[in-house]
């Protein structure tokens, strides 16, 4: 099935690149969504089976794949609306956009399921390619700059990951096997050479931070989310981040079973804390709503990795948090397009009184804000609370204190800007040109946010089991 999926997606993607007919484009993209759904169902039914040697439908992969499929459906819907509404649309840009979208979703989904570190790496490379096509959609100078930075940083990061893999093969040399699958690595974790493994982890971690949006390489991701069209930015800040997480997490599981556990947690903890710090620095200052949302993602990835670093209940909380964050943040980015349609601007000074112009949309923004800042009725409150508890359990009280302080600042800054957008009238805003937007465009966002709340507050036993299964190999 995975071959059918890959080949089918590549064919659909290629057809999209070369066919510029409107009807054909949309038929193809929906065909792809059908394929994606079918594949997801197939993966769920073949739980824990391995296909084509390199892909295993394991618990973490299934969770992430489900997340990706759920998000990709509204992503296509909103891309459709976005492309049809944008002024500079050409058949070529539309075809490129949807082709890249198909390739991106396919690559990300395959990376989730890959059980071999090199295969994950290959798909990561492919996401860079497809994501850059999406970021460059507008074809202006700033988009070009954002794309250039994204490509360059991602290329360097991919190189880092590759170097890490090379080091890993050195660390693995004593075993005498050339199979770098996670399973094999875990089986021989006692034989790994620690000093090479240390270097390998460091390089792989640093490399994947570009996709995850964590401290050293987060920079280009922020620019990319700023310049990409709303639906593409939603994918970049949800499923692509999940891919970075999967890349780090699967390797972390290997490292955690050696004596490097403490050191690796420390490295992750440092990067996570610095991410939170950077997020706090910029959330206060940033005036561009889209960049603010991107920094908020940096903050949440910091929290997720803090959970990983703290261990214990933190592992569970981290996976739950990243899934919930994907839902909420993607709905926020989907909503951004409506916001932009109303105000034709993304500077917070020029936005305001959104409730008056688009009540449903404003409601989505409000609910998403409540969820993103993890206020109690939202699902992310639970996961964030558990992350704090894991920090508490691991006796990191000072760290917890500083983190809470930074979060307070972040929430303050976020609330200040969001409330400005929702309630305070903008200066010199011409009301006559405001388009009337159909409330139906917000339905998918409501579903995503509501789903996140449901999953957080009352996680279905199957999700709990899947998460527990994914962290089974970690020492508690």
């Amino acid at each position: 099935m995975i071959e059918i999926y890959l080949i089918g997606s590549v064919i659909i993607g290629t057809l999209l690149f070369f066919n510029r007919g409107k009807a054909l484009n949309y038929t193809l993209i929906w065909l792809f969504i059908a394929l994606q759904c079918a594949f997801t169902i197939y993966a769920c039914m073949n739980y824990n089976k391995t296909e084509s040697t390199y892909f295993t439908f394991d618990s973490l992969g299934i969770i992430m794949l489900l997340t990706a499929t759920i998000i990709s459906i509204p992503a296509v819907i909103h891309s459709h609306i976005y492309i049809e509404e944008s002024e500079e649309k050409t058949p070529r840009s539309r075809a490129t956009y949807f082709g890249a979208l198909v390739i991106l979703i396919t690559a990300v989904s395959s990376a989730y399921l890959a059980n071999h570190i090199a295969v994950v790496w290959i798909f990561t490379e492919i996401t860079t390619l497809s994501a850059s096509a999406l970021i460059y959609h507008h074809r202006n100078k700033l988009a070009l700059e954002g794309t250039w930075k994204y490509i360059f940083i991602c290329a360097i990061s991919i190189t880092f990951v590759f170097i890490g893999i090379l080091f890993l093969s050195l660390a693995f040399a004593k075993v005498g096997s050339d199979d770098l699958s996670y399973k094999n690595l875990l089986a021989h974790s006692a034989l790994l050479n620690l000093s090479w493994l240390r270097l390998a982890f460091l390089f792989i971690f640093t490399g994947f931070t570009a996709k995850l949006g964590l401290f050293p390489m987060f920079t280009a991701g922020v620019d990319a989310k700023d310049k990409a069209p709303g639906p593409a930015a939603a994918l970049l800040s949800s499923i692509v981040m999940c891919m970075g997480f999967v890349g780090i997490f699967r390797f972390y599981v290997v490292v955690a079973n050696t004596s490097l556990l403490h050191w690796a947690s420390l490295v992750i903890g440092i990067a996570a804390f610095l991410s939170l710090f950077i997020a706090a620095v910029y959330m206060i200052k940033v005036k561009n709503i889209k960049r603010m949302m991107a920094y908020s993602s940096v903050e949440h990835m910091g929290l997720v990795m803090l959970g990983i670093a703290a261990g214990g209940i933190g592992y569970y909380a981290a996976i739950l948090h990243i899934v919930l964050h994907s839902f909420v943040k993607s709905s926020l980015f989907f909503q951004y397009n409506q916001l932009y349609r109303v105000f034709k601007n993304k500077n917070i000074y020029q936005l305001g009184n959104y409730f008056k112009y688009n009540t449903t949309g404003a409601l989505v923004v409000l609910l998403a804000f409540i969820s993103v800042t993890a206020m109690p009725p939202s699902g992310m409150f639970v996961s964030e609370f558990l992350i704090f508890r894991s920090l508490f359990d691991s006796n990191q009280l000072i760290l917890l204190l500083v983190v809470l302080l930074l979060l307070t600042l972040i929430i303050w800054a976020f609330a200040k800007n969001i409330f400005k957008i929702l309630f305070i009238p903008a200066v010199n805003f011409d009301e006559s040109t405001v388009p009337v937007l159909s409330p139906w465009r917000s339905v998918s966002q409501f579903i995503l946010i509501g789903g996140a709340a449901y999953l957080g507050l009352n996680p279905p036993p199957i999700l709990v089991d899947l998460i527990k299964e994914s962290i089974l190999l970690l020492p508690l």
């Binding site: 090199a118 790496w121 290959i122 490379e125 860079t128 390619l129 850059s132 100078k141 700033l142 070009l144 700059e145 954002g146 794309t147 250039w148 930075k149 490509i151 360059f152 290329a155 360097i156 991919i158 190189t159 590759f162 170097i163 893999i165 090379l166 093969s169 050195l170 040399a173 004593k174 050339d178 770098l180 050479n193 000093s195 090479w196 620019d223 700023d226 310049k227 910029y282 200052k285 940033v286 561009n288 960049r291």
Partner: protein, 210 residues
């Protein structure tokens, strides 16, 4: 013989750090491609012939011919000035490159390892960090690309070191090489040349929160 080639490779880094003209950079890159061709041949003699041919073709055709030619084309087409215009004086660059090499040698001493020729490790890591240093210290976008190509060469050296046991990794390295180079060089450098008339990295600093 291998050792000699690798040392020449290291020396080429020093030369790169004091080079003034853009064409020198391109020529050094071509030279490194040729060096890698021989290193690959000597190191990987024992692997699958087809695979070996692929690797050798990649080094000689892609690294030492296609890329330099394309770079020269870009230089001419976009009327890029011939000077490298680094932020720091060449003298300092040389010192920093030396420090990098010395540090990697020291670092390699701390690794208790018998499976790897330390020469590879030193050359690869110092090439990596020198490349990163070039990116960080040069002004033009095209020099960034060249820095990236230097990094790729370093990674290639490292992948050759383990290539005997895991040829797959060398192939992956080649894939990265071609993929990233084509993406960066082919698509983007051209595009940037079209959109921005003068390819100075200072023009690409508008996306910021500072």
């Amino acid at each position: 013989m291998l050792q000699v080639l690798l040392i020449i490779f290291l020396i080429s880094l020093f030369y790169l750090s004091i080079a003034n003209r853009m064409t020198t950079y391109v020529n050094v890159l071509a030279l490194q491609g040729v060096l890698l061709f021989f290193v690959a041949f000597l190191e990987l003699k024992s692997i699958n012939t087809l695979n070996l041919i692929l690797i050798l073709l990649e080094t000689i055709i892609f690294k030492s011919l296609a890329v330099p030619i394309f770079l020269k084309y870009v230089l001419n087409r976009n009327h890029i000035t011939r000077e490298a215009e680094p932020y720091v004086p060449n003298f300092v660059s040389l010192i920093i490159t030396t420090v990098i090499v010395v540090t990697t040698i020291l670092l390699s001493n701390t690794m208790e390892e018998s499976y790897l020729d330390k020469m590879y490790f030193v050359v690869a890591l110092s090439t990596l960090f020198t490349g990163l240093y070039f990116i960080a210290s040069r002004r033009k976008i095209i020099t960034h690309v060249m820095g990236y190509l230097v990094i790729e060469n370093g990674v290639f050296v490292l992948s050759l070191a383990v290539g005997n046991k895991m040829p797959m990794l060398v192939n992956l390295g080649i894939m990265l090489d071609i993929f990233a180079s084509v993406l960066i060089l082919g698509i983007f450098l051209n595009k940037i040349g079209d959109v921005f008339k003068d390819i100075d990295v200072n023009q690409l600093t508008n996306l910021k929160d500072y």
